[in-house]
């Protein structure tokens, strides 16, 4: 109704706008802070520099993988194969490293291969119009099966020390941490400032409307899957180079952890909203929760139940918020 509608109060100042736009991200950051303070008071060793480095650096690859996943979920698709993909890429990369290939090749190939493999999923989703949950479920099985068949389950050892990226430091900071921060900021700004990034929100918010203004939706879907594959490749480098050996299996449930990071970070499973800042923060939150449980002597098995609860609560809150803010048809 024109004129008579009471509009919800909304900020005019820059601060209020920032709060409204990044409310979810701020909430996640506060949760991390509260956890650090709370558990730190209970057991000061929790907040020791060494423990924090271990937590954040060891889980940085999840934040990196969650960047690509965020883009996929923003356009209202999903990828269940990312865990299997990281396993496959790790084996490819490690095999190259021990076979005497130049280190830069061992580092670059997983990024390119990740994009190439995900291009297949993207094409099936965009052009064959198969729901992404089905495509990537199939892809997950193919990658997992293929990996075991190809390697016979053997581990790759004797990795050259100069290959172990995750053990390196920049200005005293562990490499994975630096990468996760830099990539999150770059990707976040790009999502926010580029026409490409904006088009992802348009597609996720209303693909029909996006198509009507000339955005070539199928091409964007393929591109997003490929970018996501490349980020999976980057995540692989941080993940596979942490130890002296590479297992030829994928870390169990890795795809769920990555998806959960995005969702708890405020990326709406209904598409169209959420940022990589949120998903990276949520990855940090998980790592913190996982470690905190150990420090307060709670079985680590609770971690999954806890995170599961968190997912349900976040999605419920998202649904409620949509219902409230988007009344009417």
């Amino acid at each position: 109704m024109i004129g008579s509608t009471t509009l919800p109060p909304s900020g005019t100042g820059a601060v209020r706008r920032f709060l409204r736009e990044y409310g979810h991200e701020i909430l996640v950051a506060l949760a991390i802070f509260a956890l650090l303070v709370g558990v730190g008071l209970y057991n000061p060793r929790f907040v020791s520099a060494r423990n924090l480095t271990t937590i954040f650096s060891g889980n940085a690859y999840i934040a990196v993988a969650a960047i690509g996943m965020t883009m996929v979920i923003v356009i209202r698709e999903i990828d269940l194969s990312v865990g299997a993909l990281i396993g496959v890429l790790a084996t490819i990369s490690g095999t190259l490293a021990v076979s005497g290939a130049p280190i830069w090749v061992a580092w670059t190939v997983p990024i390119v291969a990740g994009a190439a493999i995900n291009a297949i999923s993207g094409i099936l989703v965009a052009y064959a119009r198969i729901p992404s949950i089905v495509v990537t479920l199939g892809m997950m099985a193919i990658l997992q099966g293929g990996l075991i068949t190809a390697t016979g389950g053997t581990w790759i050892s004797n990795l050259p020390p100069e290959y172990l990226l995750a053990k390196m430091t920049v200005f005293g900071l562990p490499m994975p941490l630096v990468w996760a921060i830099v990539l999150t900021i770059l990707a976040g700004l790009w999502m926010r400032l580029s026409p490409f990034g904006r088009s992802l929100y348009l597609i996720g918010g209303n693909a029909e409307a996006a198509r009507a203004v000339g955005i070539e939706v199928p091409r964007r879907i393929v591109a997003v899957f490929m970018i996501h594959g490349a980020f999976a490749g980057l995540a692989t480098l941080l993940f596979a180079t942490q130890l002296q050996v590479i297992q030829s299996t994928t870390p169990p449930n890795l795809e769920l952890i990555v998806i959960t990071s995005a969702v708890i970070g405020g990326v709406s499973i209904l598409g169209g909203t959420g940022t990589v800042f949120g998903s990276s923060l949520a990855a940090v939150l998980f790592a913190t929760i996982g470690s905190a449980l150990i420090f307060v002597n709670v079985s680590a098995y609770w971690l999954r139940a806890f995170i599961g609860t968190l997912i349900l609560l976040t999605v419920m809150a998202d649904m409620l918020r949509r219902k409230r803010t988007m009344k009417g048809a």
Binding site: M1, I2, G3, S4, T5, L7, P8, S10, T12, R17, L193, S194, P195, R198, S199, Y201, L202, G205, N206, E208, A209, A210, R211, A212, V213, G214, E216, S268, G272, T273, R322, T325, M326, K327, G328, A329
Partner: protein, 508 residues
């Protein structure tokens, strides 16, 4: 489960609607609607789009709770809180969009939700036999009740839906635009079935736009306008023209302040444009500053024509010239680049990106232009958004408000603002005021006139006859995929347009 068809009590109405009203938030969809439905009567319910017919049907089907008023079934006040309770009260509804299960068999569909039991298990033998009986009653003697419903034609599926309705021993049958999706022969057979049910004493409420059908089968007609009951007429004592006047109501000229603007040379010339069965050899010319109205019933092919012009479904044959140059429109992108803009019929589904702020909705069609360095120039975007926001007078806290929070009229303004940023030559408006309330409507109309005044060539599709008549310089009438008539403003009377709209093929 009752099997026998009990005759309705003689005398009083089978169903009475007393001052029923319904509001959706601030929008009043229905105010004081009343009507009586007698046993053994076919009662037509008429009105323009947005008059409240569907709302009334949904209330009687138990799908919406009324905001006020009473419903009497056989003289007893009855609440209809759910579709199940409506069915139990003897009211059966065949909706325009059939609500059936394509993967189940015919018999399963007839009994959907009410499977007969025998010893705790579904009584399949009874179910099949009874379904067969019901369908035989509807002239479907040979239909295999074990066939999957999805394999049947629309006409057959509709009969299954009617059988399902009758299975509940319905004394009141409501048919919502039952012939809209049917061909001529199937429509004729359906009308025969309706008459047969009437002879059996069923009270039938028949919602339709098609005048010839209504006059063929109805005993009485009731007209709704703007959610209000207007009048009931006996079929024998009224005429098509009189009914249209009741539906339209006030003299059309006084409704909207159409401003006269000089009409320039041709902008868009369409010749022999065809695409599938719904767009057949469309030829017309649209001029600078002209508002060309397209009138036609739902399913007449008017939206399909817009989709061809905008490249959603590219043409199979025919030519389109823009400013004398032949253009090919293979995609919405091509249409946009050529200078054609399309404000879709369903702005929620096709136009607006609800989770995003107004600013991002307005700028979305010109992202390339405001991103000179490969990044979105925030200042330019803000300027574009501000311009659109101010020009259309969007009522919101500012361009940063989330688009999904706006009212229908303001959402529509945002969608129009988006397209104006592309500086189009041709603006296609599909149902520009659907679901928008009266005050906002007038504002949108004023805006359309202004845009025409600025030299835009406007193609305006609308189901609302008064809107088309009041706004258009010329009116093009479409039926069954063909342009049936093009009338200059002075000849476009409700009767002339209404007649061309509802005439069947024989009329051409």
């Amino acid at each position: 489960m009752t099997i026998a068809q009990t005759p309705p009590p003689a005398g009083g109405p089978a169903l009475s609607v007393r001052d029923i009203s319904k509001s959706f938030g601030p929008v009043k969809a229905l105010k004081t609607a009343s009507l009586d439905l007698m046993p053994g009567e076919v009662h037509a319910l008429m009105g323009e789009n947005g008059a409240g017919k569907s709302t009334l049907v949904k209330i009687l089907a138990g799908m919406h709770a009324p905001s006020g008023g009473a419903i009497l079934v056989d003289g007893v006040q009855t609440a209809l809180p759910s579709p199940r309770r409506a069915a139990e009260a003897g009211i059966a509804v065949v909706h325009q969009e059939l609500l059936l299960f394509g993967e189940l068999t015919v018999a399963e569909n007839v009994f959907a939700g009410h499977y007969p039991r025998k010893g705790g298990m579904v009584d399949w033998a009874f179910m099949r036999r009874r379904a067969q009986e019901l369908l035989a009653d509807l002239d479907c003697h040979d239909l295999d009740v074990d066939r999957k419903l999805g394999s049947l034609s629309v006409a057959m599926r509709q009969r299954v839906e009617i059988a399902r309705a009758l299975n509940h021993n319905a004394r009141v049958l409501i048919l919502d635009e039952p012939t809209a999706a049917l061909g001529e022969r199937d429509a004729d057979r359906l009308l025969e079935i309706v008459l047969r049910l009437r002879a059996r004493g069923v009270a039938i409420l028949y919602v339709s736009h098609r005048m010839n059908e209504i006059f063929r089968i109805s005993d009485r007609m009731s007209v709704l306008r703007d959610g209000t009951y207007i009048a009931t007429r006996n079929a024998r004592e009224t005429t098509e023209g009189a009914l249209i006047s009741l539906m339209v109501g006030r003299p059309v000229d006084q409704m909207f302040p159409k401003t006269e603007v000089p009409i320039g040379g041709p902008v868009l010339e369409v010749r022999g444009l065809s695409c599938g069965p719904m767009v057949r050899e469309a030829s017309f010319t649209l001029h600078k500053g002209e508002i060309l109205g397209i009138a036609g019933l739902v399913g007449s092919g008017r939206t399909e024509l817009a989709h061809v012009l905008f490249g959603v479904t590219p043409a199979q044959s025919g030519t389109i010239h823009l400013h004398g140059q032949e253009i090919r429109i293979a995609s919405p992108r091509a249409a946009r680049d050529a200078g054609i803009a399309y404000v879709p019929e369903d702005r929620g589904a096709q136009g607006l990106v609800k989770p995003l702020p107004i600013r991002e909705n307005i700028s979305m069609a010109v992202l390339d232009r405001i991103s000179p360095a490969g990044l979105i120039n925030r200042a330019k975007e803000a300027a574009v958004a501000k311009r659109g926001f101010d020009m259309l007078g969007v009522r919101a806290s500012g361009p940063e408000q989330i688009a999904g929070q706006l009212s229908g009229g303001n959402q529509q303004k945002v969608v129009i603002a988006k397209w104006l940023q592309t500086n189009p030559w041709v603006l296609i408006l599909d149902e520009p005021t659907r679901g928008i309330d009266v005050g906002a409507k007038a504002e949108i109309h004023r805006l359309i006139c202004e845009l025409a005044g600025q030299g835009l060539a406007i193609l305006m599709i609308s189901s609302e006859l008064p809107e088309v008549l009041a706004m258009s310089d010329r009116v093009m009438v479409i039926a069954e995929g063909r342009i049936r008539a093009t009338l200059p403003r002075e000849d476009a009377t409700p009767e002339a347009v209404g007649h061309a709209m509802t005439a069947r093929r024989s009329a051409s």
